[in-house]
């Protein structure tokens, strides 16, 4: 079986039998989604790096102790772990506020694009940075639904169940999140440019 084309379920099955290459493949496949989910919640790159490691340590411990349940899908499961760790951290940070000196602009956006001019790259980084800030500044309930639906790929019904609201409330929060984002993008003149994001 080729690890590159294997499903998550197949990779996890291999990993349960001790295949570390399969685990490496599944980490590479999902690291960005997991990291983005955490980062949008905790707003700090260095804490997000730590929580990413904590998330996958839980995965390793669960699998290697024989407790991994193959019935569930891997990605929603690992994203749930990441989300819970990020929320736990966020709650603790609110109780014990710390001052974080962070510029971080040099490490934003490590995606590489071929044949881009330095100027285009710089504009893309700025738009990316501003948009992420707008998401982070959304009201908590709206941000939570946006992250769960858009980045964690949970259905609105799953979100409603987890957050203990009706599906209409979850949909309404998503609608307001999108409306607020659109308004903010207009306010701060953050344009979507098809030349930057084809």
């Amino acid at each position: 079986m080729n690890n590159l084309t294997a499903s998550d379920s197949q990779l996890m099955s291999l990993y349960r039998n001790g295949n570390e290459a399969a685990f490496e493949q599944i980490v590479k496949r999902h690291k960005s989604k997991v990291f983005t989910t955490i980062y949008l919640i905790v707003k700090d790159r260095y804490i997000a790096e730590d929580l990413l490691q904590d998330t996958f340590i839980k995965v390793v411990n669960t699998v290697k102790s024989g407790r991994y349940n193959e019935e569930g899908k891997f990605l929603p499961w690992v994203l749930r772990i990441a989300h819970n760790l990020a929320i736990d951290h966020f709650r603790k940070a609110k109780r014990y506020p710390t001052i974080v000196m962070e510029d971080g602009s040099h490490v934003f956006n490590t995606l590489s694009f071929a044949d881009e001019s330095a100027e285009t790259e710089q504009i893309r980084k700025e738009v990316h940075h501003k948009l992420r800030k707008l998401i982070q500044d959304l009201p908590d309930a709206q941000k939570e639904v946006l992250i769960m639906r858009h980045y964690m790929k949970m259905s609105f019904q799953e979100i409603a169940d987890v957050t203990q609201v009706s599906i209409n409330t979850a949909l309404g929060r998503m609608r307001y999140a999108l409306i607020n984002l659109r308004k903010s993008m207009e306010k701060y003149n953050i344009a979507y440019d098809k030349n930057l994001y084809p």
């Binding site: 570390e20 990291f35 949008l40 790096e49 340590i57 024989g66 956006n109 948009l131």
Partner: protein, 79 residues
């Protein structure tokens, strides 16, 4: 009778959560209702923007995760 769709219907459509019948009706409305089609294009643009907000962790973190996994033997973790 012409069915009027709500913004929530459109959001469910964008995230592929409509039934086949709803999907067909919404796609018909997108052809005939210019305001609805405009709303759809705006939402699609916004969602494309959201797709760009993807962050990558450092290779150091990834290496640490893989090293941890290799250091743990199968079934050695206490339940």
């Amino acid at each position: 009778m012409i069915k009027t769709f709500t913004p929530d219907d459109l959001i469910r459509y964008m995230y592929h959560e409509t039934t086949d019948a709803e999907k067909a009706a919404i796609e018909q409305a997108l052809v005939t209702d210019t305001d609805f089609a405009h709303e759809y294009r705006q939402l699609k643009t916004l969602m494309s923007s959201l797709e760009t907000v993807k962050e990558e962790p450092s290779q150091k973190s990834v290496d640490a995760i893989l090293a941890y996994s290799k250091s743990i033997n199968l079934h050695s973790v206490p339940k």
